[in-house]
């Protein structure tokens, strides 16, 4: 129930350019990662904005549900998005 036919293949949160927004389609990854992300409000259907990447390229900062959330690219890769 968390996938969506709109998903363009291979689009994860990591691919969202800085300053752009996308809609979360599915949250994958092992249960620890997906559960933590979803608890923090990153659930299918929610809109997320890529804010920036840290100086050394990782982690990234996104804006979701009106607050700022940082995660490593490893985690961002488990979030499928559609633009």
């Amino acid at each position: 129930m968390f996938s969506d036919h709109l998903v363009s293949k291979g689009s994860t949160l990591t691919n969202v350019p800085v300053g752009s927004s996308a809609r979360v389609v599915a949250v994958n990854g092992n249960s620890r990662i997906s559960r933590r992300l979803m608890e923090m409000g990153v659930v299918p259907g929610v809109s997320v904005e890529m804010v920036k990447t840290a100086p050394f390229g990782d982690p990234i900062e996104i804006r979701v549900r009106g607050y700022s959330l940082a995660m490593r690219k490893n985690e961002a890769d488990s979030i499928d998005v559609s633009f």
Binding site: R36, E39, F56, Y67, M71
Partner: protein
């Protein structure tokens, strides 16, 4: 019905997300009447206080700040146990005050939707409402309350807004178990994630109906600040500048109170000595208790200041940014970005550093950080470095203009860092191996710190340290005192002559002070002889061995112990000319010069790596809740110290530095 509103002692739990203003509300409700301890067996802080209700008093329990009750972390497990009444020593709460940050409503309400499921009456305390309204957003409290089927009270701890209303609402909800305001439509197959999805769907509907957002883009002051503070270049420059400022301030502000404390304990010792009849008791009090505990308490100003700055950095939201900036670097050695601050603090003192690791959620990451924190050269090592440099390298230059002392000092700091990186790397690939925990961290909006929370936090932590000084450190001080005090030189004739006879003969030199003589013949002196074969390959004789044993308590004790051994009086400091020349001229039992520049460097290397600080050991025991980890730390550090010192000394000799 077990619960009723007329019970004299109600138990009310305070739950909420980190940064939701929970601690501020707790402080404002309980005032100074709070007790801070740990839940048994874990390092989750247990905060309780009395809250005056209309009819009686409530025991207010401040739960750890959390995002969820799924019991994936220690904090969540404890909070869950408290709410379900399974936590020993804490009665099941009669009501829960859920603290919700109005500026971050959706994610904050997530925890509330979980709390509903436990069937305990809930009142929602809405914080940051003034900030929210200032941004011209509108929130319909009645609507929110109606949709959540729970009283919602807007509060402001600073102005006192909502405090009376909160009291009333809590009184009203008692005895009325809540109705879960939405239906779980997930099935067993979808499991946890479906439940989370359902909760957020409900929340989205609630927020849509109850909140009118002015313009979502507008409330982004934090983002503007972040453009500078987490900038790819400026961000790092500012971080370094902030840390330099913090450390500079700690060292300059702490030096005066530290001097005063030092003098104060000295004066106290003198007073006790003049007021009491001479004898064992007064010696124990002055040289064991006052000198031992005083020597550790002298660091209290530094520790308090460090906690002050950590609290401020944490409360403003900057700490999370520092972790964000440096996570990539830290993750290369397998550590969390949050490990950065504890390690940085450890340059001043490992104790606050180790206590600051509590912010690291993953146990393995936290333990790895604790294990390497004492490798950072703390301020107690400075007197040792200073003495060695003053004695053997003063005025010497490299390349004609750089002071050799400064280079050596820098090298010692670098050695500690390099070894720490290697140890962390190895630990995270062996005994603390684990798949990297998800790094998902909120970057809270920048806020002015609440002075009261910051100060209270500083004193709570400081008090924990003082309590340690009063127990474990007191005990170890007395043991070390016994080792240096017995057997008494005056009653030396009762000793077994065969084994120890040579000791008393060789130490009978003409102009020797009774103090020095006593130390030589004490158990510590004998232990020095016992460990001599082990430290001989490092170029240390038994006298240095005695100093090493004594500095097991605290590193800076080396200086005063060497003063006693070399018979120049007790109150020498690291810059003292008499002590320095005594060290330069010291002879070993075989008549050779004890100290060469190489010995000095070897000793410094040993002090960089060895675990010689009973306060740190006590804190590690407390924070890991494990003697095994404590002894592992002592063992690996001292082992590494020996190996590194061996390489330094023998390598140096091979290279021709004698």
């Amino acid at each position: 019905m077990k619960q009723n509103g007329h019970k004299s002692q109600l138990t009310i739990a305070l739950a909420g997300n980190p940064n939701a203003g929970k601690t501020t509300l707790f402080n404002s409700l309980t005032g100074l009447k709070q007790k801070v301890a740990n839940y048994p067996g874990v390092t989750v802080e247990r905060k309780q206080g009395a809250w005056k209700l209309e009819n009686g008093k409530a025991n207010l329990i401040d739960l750890p700040g959390l995002y969820s009750l799924d019991a994936t972390s220690m904090d969540e497990q404890i909070a869950r146990d408290v709410i379900t009444g399974e936590q020993a020593g804490v009665p099941k709460p009669d009501a829960i005050i859920a603290v919700v940050d109005a500026t971050n409503l959706e994610r904050n309400l997530y925890l509330v939707t979980q709390i509903f499921e436990f069937g305990i009456p809930v009142v929602i305390a809405l914080t940051m409402i003034d900030a929210f309204e200032k941004q011209k957003h509108e929130i319909d409290l009645d609507k929110l309350s109606e949709l959540l089927k729970t009283p919602v009270v807007a509060i402001n701890a600073k102005t006192g807004r909502g405090k009376t209303q909160l009291l009333k609402s809590v009184g009203e909800v008692l005895d009325k178990p809540p109705t879960v305001p939405f239906e779980m439509n997930g099935n067993a197959e979808d499991g946890q994630n479906a439940k989370i999805f359902a909760r957020y769907n409900f929340i989205s509907e609630v927020v849509q109906e109850a909140v009118k957002h002015n313009d979502r883009k507008e409330h982004r002051v934090s983002e503007k600040i972040d453009r500078v503070l987490t900038h790819k270049v400026f961000g790092l420059v500012i971080l370094v500048a902030v840390l330099l400022l913090v450390f500079q301030t700690i060292f300059s502000w702490a030096s005066l109170p530290m001097d005063l404390l030092d003098k104060g304990f000295g004066a106290l010792g003198d007073l006790v000595r003049t007021e009491m009849p001479p004898g064992i008791l007064v010696d124990l009090l002055v040289d064991g208790v006052i000198a031992g505990v005083g020597g550790v308490l002298v660091f209290l100003p530094q520790i308090l200041l460090l906690f002050l700055f950590i609290s401020i950095l944490e409360d403003t939201g900057y700490l999370a940014r520092a972790a964000f900036l440096l996570d990539k670097l830290m993750s290369r050695v397998g550590l969390h970005g949050k490990a950065f601050l504890p390690l940085m603090s450890s340059f001043a003192c490992a104790i606050p550093g180790i206590m600051a690791t509590r912010t690291i959620e993953s146990r393995r990451d936290r333990f790895a950080t604790i294990m390497i924190a004492p490798l950072m050269s703390c301020s107690a090592r400075l007197p040792v470095y200073t003495l060695m440099i003053a004695a053997f390298f003063a005025g010497r230059k490299v390349f004609g203009f750089i002071s050799l002392g400064a280079v050596l000092m820098l090298a010692m700091y670098a050695l500690g860092i390099i070894v720490a990186v290697i140890v962390a790397f190895v630990l995270k690939r062996t005994i603390l191996k684990a798949p990297p925990p998800p790094f998902v961290m909120e970057l809270p909006p920048y806020r002015l710190p609440n002075i009261r929370t910051v100060v209270q936090n500083m004193f709570t932590r400081g008090w924990l340290f003082v309590k340690r000084a009063g127990t474990v450190i007191l005990a170890i001080s007395i043991i070390l005192w016994v080792l240096t005090y017995f057997p008494r030189t005056a009653v030396q004739t009762t000793e077994a002559p065969a084994a120890n006879g040579e000791v008393s003969v060789e130490t009978r030199q003409p102009d020797i002070s009774p103090e020095s003589e006593q130390l030589r013949n004490s158990f510590a002196g004998k232990l020095g002889h016992v460990i001599e074969p082990v430290i001989r390959p490092l170029g240390f004789d038994w006298k240095i061995g005695v100093a090493l044993i004594a500095s097991f308590a605290a590193r800076e004790v080396l200086v005063s112990t060497l003063s006693i051994i070399y018979n120049v009086g007790k109150d020498q400091d690291a810059q003292s000319e008499t002590l320095i020349s005594a060290i330069r001229e010291a002879k070993s039992d075989d008549g050779a010069v004890t100290w060469t520049p190489l010995t000095a460097v070897t000793l410094m290397v040993f002090f960089v790596l060895a675990m010689q600080c009973m306060s740190t050991m006590a804190i590690v025991r407390r924070e890991t809740n494990s003697w095994a980890w404590t002894f592992f730390m002592i063992g690996y550090m001292t082992g590494l110290a020996w190996i590194a010192a061996f390489i330094t000394f023998q390598g140096g000799r091979l290279l021709g530095f004698a």
